[in-house]
C-alpha cells in the first residue's frame, strides 16, 4: 500500500478516503489525553481488509460470516528506557471499524 505524507499524518490514499483528518485528529487528542506518554507521537495508519477466516471457523465448528471486514489501525510507537537503561519498544494500537468507531485499544506488555 502506497503511503504518503498528508499534513502531519502518515496516511495511505485508500485510508484517507474513509477516515477523515478530523477523526484522526480526534483520536490523537484522545491518546494524548489518556496516554500522555504517547503525546506528540505520529501514528502509522494502516487499513486491512479481512476475508472470512474459513479454516479457523471450521476448526472451531463455527458458522462463518461471509462478508469481508475492513479495519483501520493507528499505531503509536516509541522507545523508552527503564531505570536500568534497558530499551523497551512501547506500542499502542487503536483499532477502528469501517465507520471509524474504536473497536479496541491495546498496548504492548
Amino acid at each position: 500500500m502506497a503511503i504518503r505524507r498528508q499534513g502531519s499524518v502518515r496516511v495511505s490514499k485508500e485510508v484517507e478516503s474513509v477516515i477523515d483528518q478530523q477523526r484522526i485528529a480526534e483520536i490523537k487528542r484522545k491518546i494524548s489525553r489518556e496516554f500522555p506518554e504517547f503525546r506528540g507521537i505520529e501514528p502509522k495508519i494502516t487499513e486491512k481488509r479481512i476475508g472470512p477466516q474459513d479454516s479457523i471457523f471450521k476448526k472451531l465448528s463455527l458458522g462463518r460470516p461471509k462478508q469481508f471486514v475492513t479495519i483501520f489501525r493507528l499505531k503509536f510507537k516509541k522507545t523508552v528506557e527503564t531505570v536500568d537503561h534497558t530499551e523497551i519498544e512501547r506500542i499502542l494500537v487503536v483499532s477502528l471499524d469501517e465507520q471509524g468507531e474504536i473497536i479496541k485499544i491495546t498496548e504492548s506488555r
Binding site: F35, P36, E37, K44, T46, K48, I50, Q53, S55, I56, F57, K59, L60, L62, P65, V69, I71, R73, K75, K77, V80, E81, T82, V83, D84, T86, E87, I88, E89, I91, V93, S95, I103, K104, I105, T106, E107, S108, R109
Partner: protein
Amino acid sequence: MRLLILSGKDGLRKQIGDLSQIEKAVNAFIKSKKDYETVFLYYDRANAFKVKKVDKKATSIRRYILDIEKKWGDIDNLLLLGGDSIIPFFRLNNPCDDGDNKVLSDNPYASRDDDFLIPERICARIPDNRSADFIIKQFKKFSKTSRKSFGMTAKIWKRASEDVYQQIGVIKDLKTSPPVTSDSFKEEWLQKKQFLYFNLHGSKISANWYGQERGDYPIALRPENISNASGFVASEACYGAYILNKSHEDAISLRFLNEKEIYCFCGSTTIAYGPVAPPSSEADLLVKYFFEYVKQGLTVGESLKNAKIDFARKSLRRQGFLDDDDQKTLLQFVLYGDPTSRLSTRVKGGRERD
C-alpha cells in the same frame, strides 16, 4: 490418553553430557503416570514404530510426530524435552508490525493441520537450561495444596489486571509497580502459593521485568527475588518465555522452573499485547482463561489448549474475525513444565494426589 515425550539425543547430549540420569528420571515419570500411555522417543534415533529418524529441524520434527501418530494413534499430549537447540521453536511470520521479525512458537507441534492458530493436542516443553538436575527436577514435581495467590502488575494496567486476578485471588492483594520494586519485593510473597500472576513489561535482552507509571519504568522483579517460590505461574510480560541463549540466571521463566514447587510457566516468547482496561483481550484474556481451567482442576496442558480455543471463540464472537494481535497472542504463548501437572486435591486420610 497418549503422551509422547520427545527429544533429540545428539542435541541433548551436547547440552547436558551423560543422559543416563535424565533417562532414568523420564522412565520413573512414565511409570508414575498410570493414566497415560506414554512413550519416550528421540527423533534422531531408531524407534519401535519404525518411523524414520529426522534431523533437528522444526518442520522435520513436526512431520516425525505426525508419522508416529499414524502408527500409534492420536497423540493427546506432547512433551518436548529440551530448549531451542534440541527441539527448535517454529519461527512463524509475525502477524503484527512490531519489533519481532518472527514469532517463536510451539503451536505447529500442537496442530495436525496447516492452521497453527488453534491447537489440537496438548503441547508443553521442558527447557534444558543446560542442566541435567534442572530437567530431572521437572519430572519430580508434585503440586501441594495452597489457597493463596500472588499477583503483580504495572500500575498503568491495574484495572485490566484486576479483571484477570479476580479469577485466582483477592483484588486488593494485587501488587502494583510502582510503588513495589525489586528492592522492596519480599521473597515470601511467592512462597506457599497456588497461582502466581504477572502483568509487567519484559525485554528480550534484560533479565528483569518492569513496572510502569507514566514515564517511569522501575524494576519490578529480578531473578534474584525468586526463592522457594511455589505455584502455577503465568506472565503476560513481553518475552516472558523467551529462553534462547538464556539460563535460570538471566531468565525469570527458567528461574521459576528451577524452583522445586513451581509446576509450570505459561508466557510469551515475543512482544505481547493487552488492553489498557477491561474487558480482557489478547494476553489478558488468554491468561485469564488459562487460570480458570487450572483452577477447575484440569492439567496445565489441557488448560492452555482450552484457553487458546476459548480465546479464539471469544474474539470471533466479539469481532467476527481474529485480528493481528489476536493471532500473535495464540502463536506466542507457550507452556513450560510437565503438561500433566494439575492442582492437587485432598483425598480421605489427608493424603494428596496430583
